[in-house]
Symmetry: C2
């Protein structure tokens, strides 16, 4: 707990507010485009994507949690909604009676793909077209410090 008491530099503070604001703006734009296309929120995509690329299309809730950074209680209820829409289903996890599998359904895979057609265009229109490849790489390399 021995913290460094040094105050952040101007540059550090600007970096922080840039991260906050860029995310704000970009997420706002992208979510708006998804919504305009009649698609559900981005968090649905994140979960469906993690499931779709997992072995057998299934993960434990805590695994989804780690991969998406969703809070446990939020994920639990997001899965409720996804299940209600028939996009995933919960199955028993035999090796541990406390655990569950969350399995993506065919409808879930299809929705994810349809979301991706919109999402991809959005990412390109809001982000890709404003960065060179090397700039994009710089961003992910620099921000990797925080992951």
């Amino acid at each position: 707990m021995s913290e460094n008491m040094t105050k952040p530099s101007e540059a550090t503070t600007r970096a922080w507010t840039s991260i906050m604001r860029a995310r704000e703006r970009l997420l706002g734009a992208i979510e708006a485009e998804l919504k305009a296309a009649g698609m559900p929120p981005l968090a649905w995509y994140d979960v469906l994507w993690e499931l779709a690329r997992a072995d057998d299309g299934r993960l434990r809730p805590y695994e989804i949690e780690e991969r998406t950074l969703l809070a446990q209680y939020n994920l639990s209820r997001l899965i409720d909604r996804l299940e209600g829409e028939g996009l995933v289903r919960r199955e028993v996890f035999a090796e541990d009676g406390r655990g569950r599998w969350v399995v993506i359904t065919e409808a879930g895979r299809q929705l994810r793909e349809r979301m991706w057609t919109v999402y991809a265009k959005s990412i390109e229109a809001n982000i890709g077209c404003r960065l060179t490849e090397s700039e994009a790489n710089s961003i992910s390399a620099l921000l990797a410090r925080f992951l």
Copy 2:
């Protein structure tokens, strides 16, 4: 509306997820430290800070909205809460009967300062100490493309 149909590159997509995740992690850490110190959420800070540095310590709601990127209806109710705590007060805006002033109080200024002592430490501990000055500058320069 003629959109570029090109799909985003790998690098672009990674840049986007880096932004989302870095913000997630950093905000989580910083909000947790504020809360641990008994402080209100970061959004309160943002509003108080914009007011504190504005002329006469006051702004119109729509000005706060622009500066903080808060949604209009969220800001309206955030101001309710701030007002309830005596941190700001609303005053009439004589030139336009639709408008309002939001004025920071002395208690508001003091709270902002106390929050800053915690917030600054958090920014340094989570961000500053992981970046050189030039890296921090690179981040803000690159992300400025989106602002």
